[in-house]
Amino acid sequence: MNFLNFLVAGVSLGSIYAIIALGYTMVYGIAKMLNFAHGDVIMIGAYVAFFSINSQSLPPVVAVLLAMAICTLLGVMIEYLAYRPLRNATSLAVLITAIGVSFFLQNFALIRWGSSPKNFPTVVPFGKITLFGGDLIISGEAITTILTCLLVMVLLTTFTQKTKMGKAMRAVSEDKAAAQLMGINVNYTISITFAIGSALAAIAGVLLCSMYPLLNPTTGAMPGIKAFTAAVFGGIGSIPGAMIGGILLGIIEIFGKAYISNQLSDAIVFAVLIVVLLVKPTGLMGKKIRVKV
């Protein structure tokens, strides 16, 4: 039954990656940029939730909502101040700016909240489920994470497929100039994308810290990088791709840790990513784009 326990752990870790990866993939799909600061928005979200619960004694649900609101605001602000002025610049320039924003957020957190890790309280109101006479234990955090991930997936798919804004997003990601000619406000659409991605980052931050309760200014960095590779793994720009990529990555990481080597688990994750990209250079669900000659 160890196998099942590992699987559950993998899927729940993967669900967190998936939620983060959605933020990366949506922004990449629409603004064609790698938003390296996304991982740090996660960290900010977690800090906001932490202080709402610990210092203000707010109920966890309110804390999560507050974190989402602040991250949404932060995401839109970052886009407006740092990325929008560079809309016509090279992707490399935008990437470096994103790195600058990432450094800024990390160091802001360092100065504001210090480098010593905070012990994150759980936000999950219910306990673990024990199955098969104790052989399979599913923690409340795992259940919440997996359910949240599913809910996010359903809502986001419905949003992009059914609503006017969602269609505008898909149009902008397909062809920015054509979308603009069709009367779509590109800047507004991109802002909304950042808003959604950052709100998701806040959720991911809270879930991540509920599962691994140590919070410090670099908490978001590594999960950010991994979620980003998950997005690429699934095919960057694709929402179901980010989902599948994230969950697979979580499973691979946990199984790698359990069965191969605890220390080499990251290397295994990245090695699998490379193999996938070599076999299918646009990721699992990515579209192939033909260059017009």
Binding site: A82, S91, I99, N107, F270, L273, V291
Partner: protein
């Protein structure tokens, strides 16, 4: 005109050598006069190391046009193989400079091999995918070296990725790389002089490569891959050439860096270090080697200069980085900057012209 142009490319190169030499002599002068703080002195080798890193990464990002996010990985490979090489040669090569040179050479070769190994799959990919795979390789290298144990005894080198005990060395054995603890007790044989020499060699190789047929091919592929293919260029060959040369110099810089410290850990060469070097390259200007060197030097010293602001220095650093990117890349701000420069120029020229006009007038009359 023609001659002038050809000489200009050469002249440009010589200016770079000159700058390096001037830097060396000024630092020597200050050091001898006791005008250099000890922290600054300790930064001299790292400054050169980062200049070499920036030049070599510029070959990939600026000249070859491929975004690499794992350059520190090659530095790491060079650092640890250099440490092992230096320790292994301790008995047989007694001259420290010669041992350093050999260690750097070995570090470069091993990193170049890693470059070949990584380049074969990576260079088939395009754009952002290539970036993410180089990132992945950087993380893999860090992770693997973090679990690497290397020991040396009378029977030779022992390597394991499990534990120090698994090496099975005899009692006289010495642990060179101890997993996550890294390499401790490294004999420090790097010097500012050797760093300057390696920097000059790097400049020499990269500059001459760029101004040869191979360099033209590399840049042609960057500017237009399909046209380059249709002009009969072997895309993979030239991308590999840039990538592997770059990896080799990053490896050599890594050896130099490691042999300047008594303790080296794999964590030092992480994603942040790769990004740091990328920042030097972008701020210095893509394809601009002098810019890379200057940016590397300034940004390595900057945090030291901001030391009095202690905790705020990295925050200031990040704000400077964002502002510089905005000013150099935003159309409106670029225009404003250009107009300001023009204005200054016209003001300066204006005074120049009026004096010239006077002189010309004087000559006529």
């Amino acid at each position: 005109m023609k001659l002038l142009r050809n000489h200009r490319a050469g002249l440009d190169g010589f200016i770079n050598y000159g700058l390096v030499l001037v830097f060396y002599f000024i630092m020597q002068f200050l050091q001898n006069g006791g005008n250099l703080t000890s922290t600054f002195t300790s930064q001299l080798v790292p400054i050169c190391v980062y200049m070499i890193m920036a030049i070599s990464l510029n070959l990939v990002v600026g000249i070859s046009g491929e975004l690499s996010l794992g350059h520190a990985g090659f530095m790491s490979v060079g650092a640890f193989s250099g440490v092992v090489a230096s320790a292994s040669l301790m008995e047989s090569v007694s001259s420290a400079p010669l041992r350093l040179a050999l260690a750097i050479l070995i570090g470069g070769i091993v990193a170049a091999l890693a470059g070949v190994l990584i380049g074969i799959p990576v260079l088939r990919l395009n754009g952002d995918y290539l970036a993410i795979v180089t990132l992945a390789f950087g993380e893999i290298i860090k992770n693997v070296i973090n679990c690497l144990y290397v020991g040396l005894d009378n029977a030779g080198l022992h390597i394991s990725i499990k534990s120090a005990e698994a090496l099975g060395m005899d009692t006289a054995g010495k642990l060179l790389i101890n997993g996550p603890i890294g390499a401790a007790g490294v004999t420090r044989i790097s010097s500012f002089f050797s760093a300057i020499v390696l920097l000059l060699i790097t400049l020499f190789v990269v500059q001459n490569l760029i101004h040869s047929r191979s360099g033209r091919a590399i840049m042609a592929i960057r500017d237009n891959r399909i046209a380059a293919e249709s002009t009969g260029l072997n895309i993979i060959k030239y991308k590999m050439m840039a990538f592997v040369t770059s990896a080799a110099f990053a490896g050599m810089a890594g050896t130099l860096y490691a042999l300047n410290l008594s303790t080296v850990v794999a964590k030092k060469f992480d994603f942040n270090t790769s990004i740091l070097v990328l920042v030097f390259v972008v701020l210095g200007g893509l394809g601009n080697l002098r810019g890379s060197m200057i940016a590397a030097a300034l940004l390595t010293i900057l945090p030291e200069l901001l030391r009095e602001y202690q905790e705020y220095r990295m925050l200031v650093y990040s704000i400077i980085l964002i502002l510089v990117m905005l000013i150099t890349n935003n159309d409106t701000l670029k225009d404003m900057k250009q107009r300001a420069v023009m204005k200054i120029k016209t003001v300066l020229n204006g005074s120049n012209k009026s004096t010239k006009a006077k002189q010309a007038g004087g000559a006529e009359s």
